[in-house]
Symmetry: C3
Subunit: 277 residues, 3 copies
C-alpha cells in the first residue's frame, strides 16, 4: 500500500488558516464530557485556540448544553458508568442537531470496560471523528493494537491500514496521533509531521489535541481538513514552545501560550502530505 | 438610576489592607464544594492569598468538614445531583454555625438544571454572597440574563439594577463580575475597576475570584467590604501579572504568584468607587 | 529514644541513583486512585520522574488496570464512598500480584469518614507504604495527631514514635512528611532533610510526593530505600526549583521541570541520615 503524494499543500494551508480565522471570530461552544485528569488543560487549550469550552456531564443537563454547542468532545480517560450514559444522551442529541461528535477512546484496549465503552459509543452514535493513539485505533480496528494504561504500546502492522480500516468500518474520520499523525476517511489521508517530541512528555497533550479537533470541527465543512488543521496548529505551537522550554512543565505553559498566539498565516509552516490510502 | 460617588476610597483601602493582613495571620480554612475543571486553581489561589483550602463533597463528611471552616464556597461549574445534596447539607451546617456561604452559580441560565440548583440553594440556604457574571446574575434576578455554556452572554438592561434586585430578593451581597465589578447589598454598591482583560482569557479566573471572596469573608464582619477587597486584590494582582505575560498560560502562573506576593499596603492601588444604587 | 547515625549515606546515594536509572529505563505503570484536586500534578510528576501514570477508578476496570501496574497509589484527598470500594477492589488484586500499594491518607483525622476509610484500607489491604503528614500519621497511630482540612496541625509527642508505632502496628513502611521527612519500618529510620519551604506553599506537593513514592516502589526491592529515594529526588528538585522561582506557581512549574531533569548522579546531593528508632 504505497503512499503517494497527490498534490501540494497550498490549498490546505489556505483552508486551515481560514478555519482558524473563523474560529477566532465565532467562538463556538465546545461541549466536553471528559476525564478529571486533564480537563483543565482541555478547557484552556480550547480558550487559547479561540473557542469556548464547557464541561457538563450530569445526564439531566447534557441535552440542553450540547444543543448550544458547535461540537461535542467525548473523552473516556477516567470513565465511569454514569458518564457513558451521559455521553450517549449528549451524543444522540448532537446527532439530531448535526453537531459533530469527536471521540477520544483513551485507554481503549487497556481494560475491557474502556474497549466496550468505545465500541458502544461508536455503534450507537454517529461519531464524526475518532482521535486516538496507534494502540487505541489498532484495538478498535481489530488490527492488534497494544495499550498500556493510557499509552500506546504500538500496533502490529501498518498504522495506515488500521486507521483506514476503522474509518471504513465506522464512516468516521480517523485521526491517529503519533510522530506523524494520520488523518483518514478510508480513501484519502493527510499526514501531519508538525509537532515536537516534548509533546509526549506532558500529561494531557492527547486530550488537548482532541479539544482542538473539536474546536476546528465546530466551524468546518470538511472534517478531514479541519482535523488536520487542528493537529497542524497544535504541532506548530509545539515546535515554537519547544524553543525556550526548560522542561515538560514550562513547555506546557509555552505550548498554551503559543496556541493563543497563532495567526492564520502561521499555518503555512504546516508539514503536511496529502496521500491516497 | 444615577451612580453617585459617596466618599473617597481611603477607608476602604485601610480596611481591605487589614483584612489581607488578618487572612495571612489566621489562615482560615475555606471549604469548597466545586467543579473538577478549575478546582486546582481554586486550591492554589486560596493558598496564595493566605487561607487554607479544603475540597470535600461526600455527603458523609461535609458537615464535619465545614464545621472547622471559616467560609464555605459552593460552585456549580460541573454540577451533579449528589453534589447539590452535599451543598445543601454543608450549607445548612454552615448556616447553623454562622459560617458565611458563598455561591458561584456557574452556568445558571445555560441549563435548567443549573438554574434550578442555584435557585434551590438560594431558597434553602442563607447565602452570604452570590458571585456570578452578568448573565448568571441577570438570570437569577429575573432580569433577562443570557448565559452560553459558562460564559456571560450579557444582560438586557442595567447591570446595577439586576444586581441590586437579586440582593434585595435574597438578602445576600451580590457580586457581579465584569470589566467593572459591582458589589451591592441592594442599597449601596462598590464598583471595582481593578483588573486586566487577560483575566478573561484564562479558564478559572471566575472560580478563583469566588475562592478569594470566600477567603476574605472568613475573616470579615462586613461582606460588602470583604468581597470588594477580594476583587481588588485579584485585580491588582492581574494588573501586575499582565506586565510580563507572554500569553494566557504564563499569565495565570504570574497571576497566582502576584496574589501570593500582595502586601496589605498594595491595596492602596485599588480602583474603587462607592456609590448609591 | 535517641537518634543514632548508623552509617554514612554513600550506599544510599548509590542505590537511590540506581533506582532512578531503572525507573527511567522501565517506565513502570503507576495506577492512581486519587483526588480530583491535584490529579493533574500527580500525572505530570509521575511522567517527569520517568514512570507512566494511569488514573482509573471505575470498579468495573480497576482490577484489570492494576494488573498491568508496577504500583498502586491510593489517595483519599476527595474521598467518595464508591471510591473506597474501588480502592479495596484494586488493592486486593494488587496484593494478589505482589504489586506494592501506597496509601496517602489525606485528611485522616479531619473527618471520621476519612479516618475510617484510611483504617479500613489498612485493615483489609496489605499496604506497603503509608505516606502522610505528621497529623495524619499521628491520628492513625493513635498518637494524638491534629488535622485541619488537609493540613497537619501537628502531633502531641515525638513524631518518630508515632511513625514507628504505626509501622509496627501495620507492617507498612511509614513515611511522615515534614521539614525533616521520616521513613521507618519501626526498627530503622531514614531521615530526609532535602527539600525547600516553598514546597509547602503549593497545593499538591504532598500528593506528588506519594506519586513519586509509588513510582520508585515500582522498581524497588527495599521500600525504605525507595521511599527515601523518592523524597530525596523530590527534595533536591525542590531546592533547585526554589533558586529562580518568583512565587508558588512558578515554583511548581520549576519543580516539575527539575524532577524531569534529575540525573542519577544528582542523588549524591541527598541530605539523609540513617538512624535507629
Amino acid at each position: 500500500m504505497p503512499i503517494l503524494v497527490k498534490k501540494n499543500a497550498s490549498s490546505f494551508e489556505r483552508s486551515s488558516g481560514e478555519l482558524l480565522a473563523t474560529l477566532r471570530e465565532k467562538h463556538p461552544l465546545v461541549h466536553h464530557i471528559t476525564n478529571y485528569v486533564t480537563v483543565n488543560d482541555c478547557a484552556n487549550i480550547t480558550l487559547c485556540i479561540g473557542a469556548s469550552p464547557v464541561m457538563a456531564e450530569a445526564k439531566e443537563e447534557v441535552e440542553e448544553m450540547v444543543s448550544m454547542a458547535g461540537a461535542l468532545v467525548l473523552n473516556i480517560g477516567t470513565l465511569r458508568k454514569e458518564q457513558v450514559e451521559a455521553m450517549l444522551i449528549a451524543g444522540r442529541r448532537a446527532n439530531e442537531h448535526s453537531i459533530p461528535v469527536i471521540l477520544d477512546p483513551v485507554g481503549a484496549g487497556a481494560t475491557s470496560m474502556r474497549t466496550n465503552a468505545a465500541r458502544r459509543l461508536l455503534e450507537e452514535l454517529d461519531v464524526a471523528v475518532i482521535k486516538g493513539n496507534a494502540g487505541e485505533i489498532g484495538v478498535l480496528a481489530g488490527s492488534g493494537g497494544v495499550v498500556r494504561g493510557v499509552d500506546s504500546g504500538g500496533i502490529s502492522g501498518d498504522p495506515m491500514i488500521a486507521a483506514s480500516r476503522l474509518a471504513n468500518a465506522t464512516g468516521s474520520v480517523v485521526v491517529m496521533s503519533g510522530a506523524t499523525d494520520i488523518i483518514t476517511d478510508g480513501t484519502d489521508a493527510i499526514l501531519v509531521d508538525s509537532g515536537h517530541p516534548l509533546m509526549g512528555a506532558v500529561s494531557g497533550t492527547g486530550c488537548m489535541a482532541s479539544s482542538l479537533v473539536g474546536s476546528f470541527a465546530a466551524v468546518a465543512d470538511d472534517l478531514m481538513i479541519s482535523s488536520a488543521a487542528a493537529l497542524v496548529a497544535f504541532g506548530i505551537a509545539g515546535e515554537r514552545a519547544a524553543r525556550n522550554a526548560i522542561g515538560p512543565a514550562s513547555f506546557k505553559i509555552a505550548l498554551l501560550d503559543a496556541v493563543a498566539a497563532l495567526k492564520p498565516e502561521d499555518m503555512k509552516e504546516a508539514k503536511v502530505r496529502e496521500v491516497s490510502v
